[in-house]
C-alpha cells in the first residue's frame, strides 16, 4: 500500500495554526455585509431579470438603497416592506423599482412580525427548492452509481453557451464525468452577473443563471443516455461570488470553484470583501450539497513548484478551516494542487509523487482537485501530451478525487474538440493501466518521497505559525502569499463592504447557520 510516513505532530501543528488564523475573523463575519451578499439575498428571495440596458434588478435595488443610505439594515426588509404595502411579489417590487416607480425608503415600516413572516415564507420556499435540487442530485448518483475516482474533468470554452452544449455532450459521450463551463476571462471583476443566455465572451462565456440552466438540462439529457450522472461546474469567485453560488444552488450545479483567498491574491479584490463573500457563499454551497474546489494551482503558476510547494499545503489548510466555518463537510472540499513541476528537473516525478501523496493523506476525505501541467506546456503538443500522461499516472496512483485533464494544446488555444477527446483517451488508458498498482507498492521508510513530503509539511507549519502570529491580513499586506502584496484596505470592491446596523436582517444567513449547525 502506497503510504507516506508523516510526522503526526506536524499535522496537528499545521491544523491548529490554520484554525487560529481563520478563527480571527468573527468581527468581519458578524458585523459586516457586502453589496454582493445583499444582491444574493434578493436573488434568493426570487428577484431576477434586468433593465433594458442590461443592469440586473438585484443591482438596481441594492444601488437604490445605497443611494438612499438605507442599506445598513440589509436589502431583505425594505423589499418585504414594499411587498406588504403594495401587495406585490418580490419580483413585482423589483420591477417597480426598476421602472423608477417605487422608492423603497418612502414607505412607512410595517410591524416587524409581519416583515419577518413574509421573509420567513419566501426564504423557506427557496431553501425547499435548493434542498430538492440536492436530493435530485443524490437520487441521480444513487440511480447511476457514484462518480469515478479520479473523476474526469474537462472544460468547454467556446464563448457561446449553445456551442458549449455540443462540446460538453461530445465530451460526456467519450467519458467525461465533470464539465466545467469556462466563463469569459473578464467576468471576475464585473460587479454584476449578466442576465440571460450568452453567446459572447473571451476564453469562455459568461456565468449566468440561464446559461447554468441550459447546460444542466443538456447534461441531464446525456446522463440518461450514458447511464452516468455528469456533473456541472462553474466559478463562484470574483466580485459576485455569493450571487453565483446562489445561482448554482438554484440550477443544480454540482461543483463550484470557490477559493477563500484567490480573489485577493490573483485578482486584486479587497481582502475583507473576499473573506466576507466566501463565508456566505460557502454556506450556500454547503446547504446545496455543492462540492467546492479551491485554486492552489495558481500559486505554482506564479512561483516555483518545488521552492513554493509549502504554499499549496498552507493554502489547502486555510481553505479547509474557512470551509469548516461555513459548514462545508470534508467530503465536499475539493482542495487543489497542481503538477506544475519543471519537467527538466531530475526526479520531478518523485517530487510530484511526494506532493500528491501529502495532499491525499492530509485530507483523506477530500475529493482533491488535481490540476495539470500548464506552465511548462509548450507549443510542442507531443511533449505536452506526454507530460499529461505522467500527471494522469500520479492522479490514479495516489487516487486523487478529480483529475482536471491536461490538454496537449494547453499553451496554444482553448481546447478544440479533438484535443479534449485525446486528453480523455490519455486519461482512460493510464487510469486503467495502473488502476490498482498502488496496492502493490510501498515507500522505503527513509526514502526521498517520505523525506520530501515531511519537508514540505514542516515548511507549511513554519509558514502558518508565522502568519498566525502576525495575522492573515498583515501577512498578505507584506507579500507572504504568492509573492504579491495585498493591503487590507486595497484592491477592488472595498467600497462594497458595509457595517450592519442593529436592524440588519438576512433571512438566509440565519436559516443557513441553523440548518448547517453553525
Amino acid at each position: 500500500m502506497l503510504k507516506l510516513d508523516i510526522d503526526p505532530g506536524l499535522t496537528t501543528r499545521a491544523r491548529s495554526a490554520a484554525a487560529r488564523i481563520t478563527q480571527s475573523f468573527t468581527w468581519l463575519f458578524d458585523d459586516y455585509s457586502s453589496l454582493a451578499i445583499e444582491r444574493t439575498v434578493l436573488r434568493l428571495l426570487g428577484i431576477d431579470g434586468a433593465l433594458p440596458d442590461g443592469k440586473p434588478l438585484p443591482n438596481v435595488i441594492v444601488d437604490h438603497l445605497l443611494s438612499k443610505k438605507a442599506l445598513a439594515q440589509g436589502a431583505a426588509i425594505p423589499v418585504a416592506n414594499a411587498m406588504l404595502a403594495r401587495n406585490l411579489t418580490a419580483q413585482g417590487v423589483a420591477d417597480a423599482v426598476g421602472k423608477g416607480e417605487l422608492d423603497l425608503t418612502a414607505i412607512p415600516q410595517a410591524p416587524s412580525d409581519q416583515l419577518f413572516a413574509v421573509l420567513d415564507d419566501l426564504s423557506s420556499r427557496m431553501l425547499t427548492h435548493i434542498l430538492a435540487q440536492r436530493e435530485t442530485r443524490e437520487a441521480q448518483f444513487a440511480k447511476f452509481g457514484p462518480r469515478r475516482q479520479p473523476a474526469i474533468y474537462v472544460i468547454v470554452a467556446t464563448g457561446n453557451i449553445h456551442e458549449d452544449v455540443v462540446q460538453a455532450k461530445a465530451a460526456a459521450s467519450e467519458g467525461a464525468d465533470i464539465i466545467a463551463v469556462i466563463r469569459s476571462t473578464a467576468q471576475s471583476l464585473l460587479d454584476y452577473v449578466p442576465y440571460g443566455a450568452t453567446t459572447v465572451g473571451f476564453g469562455g462565456t459568461y456565468a449566468t443563471q440561464e446559461n447554468f440552466r441550459i447546460m444542466r438540462a443538456a447534461l441531464d439529457e446525456i446522463s440518461e443516455v450514458e447511464r452516468r450522472y455528469i456533473s456541472l461546474t462553474n466559478y463562484a469567485s470574483g466580485l459576485c461570488m455569493p450571487e453565483i453560488a446562489a445561482m448554482g444552488a438554484i440550477e443544480r450545479l454540482d461543483l463550484m470553484l470557490n477559493d477563500a483567498m484567490y480573489g485577493i491574491l490573483f485578482r486584486d479584490i479587497n481582502p475583507k470583501r473576499t473573506l466576507l463573500d466566501q463565508y456566505f457563499s460557502r454556506m450556500i454551497n454547503a446547504y446545496a450539497g455543492i462540492e467546492i474546489q479551491t485554486g492552489e494551482d495558481n500559486y505554482l503558476t506564479t512561483s516555483d513548484a518545488v521552492e513554493k510547494a509549502y504554499t499549496v499545503t498552507a493554502s489547502q489548510l486555510l481553505n479547509e478551516q474557512f470551509a469548516l466555518q461555513s459548514g462545508v463537510k470534508p467530503e465536499k472540499m475539493g482542495l487543489g494542487h497542481a503538477y506544475e513541476i519543471d519537467p527538466g528537473l531530475p526526479n520531478s516525478f518523485a517530487y510530484e509523487l511526494a506532493h500528491a501523496l501529502l495532499t491525499k493523506e492530509l485530507f483523506p476525505d477530500s475529493p482533491v482537485k488535481y490540476m495539470p501541467p500548464t506552465k511548462f506546456a509548450s507549443g510542442n503538443i507531443f511533449k505536452t501530451h506526454l507530460m499529461d500522461a505522467m500527471f494522469n499516472f500520479i492522479g490514479q496512483l495516489t487516487h486523487q478525487g478529480v483529475q482536471l485533464l491536461g490538454m496537449m494544446t494547453e499553451a496554444i488555444h482553448t481546447p478544440h474538440l479533438a484535443d479534449r477527446s485525446l486528453a480523455i483517451e490519455n486519461a482512460r488508458y493510464i487510469f486503467t493501466a495502473v488502476q490498482d498498482l498502488d496496492a502493490s507498492l510501498c515507500l522505503a521508510p527513509d526514502s526521498f518521497v517520505n523525506r520530501r513530503a515531511n519537508q514540505v509539511l514542516a515548511e507549511a507549519v513554519e509558514f502558518l505559525e508565522r502568519v498566525a502570529g502576525e495575522g492573515l491580513f498583515q501577512a498578505m499586506a507584506q507579500g507572504e502569499f504568492a509573492e504579491i502584496k495585498r493591503p487590507e484596505n486595497g484592491g477592488k470592491g472595498l467600497d462594497g463592504v458595509f457595517r450592519k446596523d442593529a436592524r440588519y436582517f438576512n433571512p438566509f444567513l440565519d436559516k443557513l447557520k441553523q440548518e448547517l449547525g453553525l
Binding site: K169, A172, R267, L417
Partner: protein
C-alpha cells in the same frame, strides 16, 4: 532541386511527406474517411493516407493523416522581420546600461484587457523569471513594475505616465477569435491619442505574437514563443542606449 528550394522531409530527401490532424462534422465511417481524403486532395495533397479515424461523438470525427505535397519553398527569397539586437545575460545587460545610459530604465508591464493569464508577463518580469533566466525585477538596471492581469489599457497608460516610464510591456496569452489583436490595437490607439506613443518603447509578447505582427500593429518589438527575459532586456537596453546617443 537546388539547396534553398525545399519541401517537407519524411525519411527521404524531397519526399514531401506531411502529418496532418483535423476534425470534421462527419461520422467516423467510410463516408467520413472519404470526406477527409477529398478535403486533403482539394488542398493539393497526393498519396493521401488516412491512418486514424476516431469518433468524437455528436456527429464529429477526428482524422490523422499522412500525405505528400509537391509544394516547395525558396528559402533564399524569405525575408522576415526579427528582433536583431544581440542577446546578453543579466550581468552584461546591467553593465551595458551603466556604461551607455547611466540611469535606471523604468518598465511598466501588464496583461491587458480581457486576459487574466499572467504566466507570460511573470516569466519576463518576476524576480524568479523562467527557465533559469531571472526576470527584470532582479536586474539592477530596471525599475520593473508589473501590474498583473486584466489591466485596462487606460490604467496601464496612466501608470506609465505617472512613473515616467521608458517602456511599456504588454502580454497577451489566452486568446480566442483574435481578441489579442483587438486588445493590442486598442492600447496603441489610446497611446497615440494621449501622445504617449513616441515617448516610450511599446513591446508586446505572447505565444501568438511575432515581431512582424508587433511592427504591423504599431509596436516597436514583439516577442513570441521561445523568447526570454534576456531577449527583452537586451533589446530594451540596446535600443534605448542607441536612442539616447542620437543627437
Amino acid at each position: 532541386m537546388t539547396k534553398h528550394i525545399i519541401r517537407p522531409y519524411g525519411d527521404t530527401s524531397g519526399d514531401g511527406k506531411m502529418q496532418i490532424s483535423f476534425s470534421l462534422p462527419v461520422s467516423a465511417d467510410a463516408v467520413g474517411k472519404e470526406a477527409a481524403a477529398l478535403l486533403l486532395k482539394q488542398i493539393g495533397f497526393d498519396d493521401i493516407e488516412i491512418c486514424s479515424i476516431r469518433d468524437l461523438g455528436e456527429g464529429f470525427a477526428h482524422f490523422i493523416a499522412y500525405a505528400v505535397t509537391s509544394a516547395t519553398v525558396d528559402t533564399a527569397k524569405i525575408k522576415v522581420k526579427v528582433v536583431d539586437t544581440p542577446v546578453m545575460d543579466m550581468e552584461a545587460t546591467d553593465a551595458y546600461v551603466r556604461e551607455n545610459l547611466g540611469r535606471q530604465i523604468t518598465v511598466v508591464g501588464a496583461c491587458i484587457e480581457s486576459d487574466a493569464h499572467t504566466v507570460g508577463i511573470d516569466a519576463i518580469m518576476n524576480m524568479k523569471g523562467y527557465n533559469h533566466r531571472y526576470g527584470l525585477e532582479r536586474y539592477q538596471c530596471f525599475n520593473a513594475i508589473n501590474l498583473g492581469a486584466q489591466v485596462p489599457s487606460e490604467d496601464l497608460l496612466q501608470r506609465a505616465r505617472a512613473e515616467n516610464a521608458d517602456v511599456i510591456l504588454v502580454s497577451q496569452v489566452v486568446t480566442q477569435k483574435n481578441i489579442h489583436i483587438k486588445n493590442l490595437t486598442r492600447l496603441i490607439e489610446l497611446a497615440e491619442a494621449e501622445h504617449l506613443r513616441d515617448k516610450m518603447l511599446f513591446i508586446c509578447g505572447g505565444p501568438r505574437i511575432s515581431h512582424e505582427l508587433a511592427i504591423e500593429l504599431g509596436y516597436d518589438a514583439g516577442f513570441g514563443t521561445g523568447t526570454y527575459s534576456t531577449d527583452v532586456a537586451s533589446y530594451i537596453a540596446i535600443t534605448l542606449a542607441a536612442k539616447a546617443q542620437k543627437p
